[in-house]
Amino acid sequence: MISKKTMTLNLTDTEMDALERLSAQKDLTKTAVLRQALRLYQLVEARLVRGEKLYFENDATKEKAELMLV
């Protein structure tokens, strides 16, 4: 957070599009979006490694759909 390292990122057009759309939608710079993505990814992996599962839940029907991460 204090000292930062620079990395060059190569993305396809579609990936760049998605990044730009997210950046606009979340009111964050593209870098900020990617940092959030990294944090979430790390968090998810940490839980999966403990044997937990990741689910989406439909708020209305309460149906759970597992996000299969094999």
Partner: protein, 210 residues
């Protein structure tokens, strides 16, 4: 190894003099050691005193049993959290743990955007009237909050922060200019406070909420 973010002054309550302190991050072993050897004995003495005096529990400080070591263990290695300390006179004067990933703004106009959520914020017991008749330093809370705001800005969250206030601190957060969204039934009915980008700017400009 922690590193320093900024040198800031605190006020020595007894004299009104300034004293230089450091905002550092992250919380490290020396801070946890301070918590265990310097903070806890005072906190425990307070609890004993309150019990002996028969003071109803509802009036006790509500963070008598926080476990900072456990918090640090839980957070270890995860990018989603960040911790900060204020130190001076070779002692930890205050600590804060925040989450920069999971929380979203609840104020409707903020459209569910990202914010820095303060999970724990605690001043050393010798800086609190709850524990000492004559607290030592003033300013720990304000400095930790402004650190959270600065972090929020650096994350591109525009200064938004959120937290659940301990009852005795409701007034402080209101005076900081935060919006009180009321008691949160999902969180022990603690009041949830949030700062908008505009409120953060006002706070930074030193405008006290009237």
């Amino acid at each position: 190894m922690s590193s320093i973010i900024e040198r800031v002054p605190l006020i020595v309550r007894a004299t009104g003099d300034e004293i230089d302190a450091e905002i550092r991050h992250p919380i490290e072993e020396s801070n946890l050691h301070d918590w265990e050897t310097k903070w806890k004995p005072i906190v425990e003495a307070t609890e004993k005193r309150l019990r002996a005096q028969g003071i109803p529990r509802a009036q006790w400080p509500q963070d008598l049993h926080w476990d900072w070591r456990k918090k640090m263990t839980d957070m270890r290695g995860l990018l989603s959290g960040a911790t900060f300390t204020i130190e001076c006179e070779k002692a930890t004067q205050g600590m804060m743990a925040v989450n920069v990933s999971n929380a979203r703004a609840r104020i409707e106009q903020q459209n569910g955007q990202h914010l820095v959520y303060v999970e724990y914020l605690e001043a050393a017991p010798w800086n609190r009237k709850d524990h000492m008749a004559a607290p030592r330093f003033r300013g720990v809370g304000s400095i930790l909050i402004i650190t959270a705001i600065a972090l929020s800005r650096s994350e591109d969250f525009k200064g938004r922060i959120g937290l659940h206030s301990l009852p005795q601190a409701d007034e402080f957060y209101t005076r900081c200019g935060m919006t009180d969204l009321g008691a949160d039934p999902k969180y022990y009915n603690l009041r949830y406070f949030e700062m908008t980008p505009e409120q953060a700017t006002k706070f930074l400009e030193g405008k006290e909420k009237s």
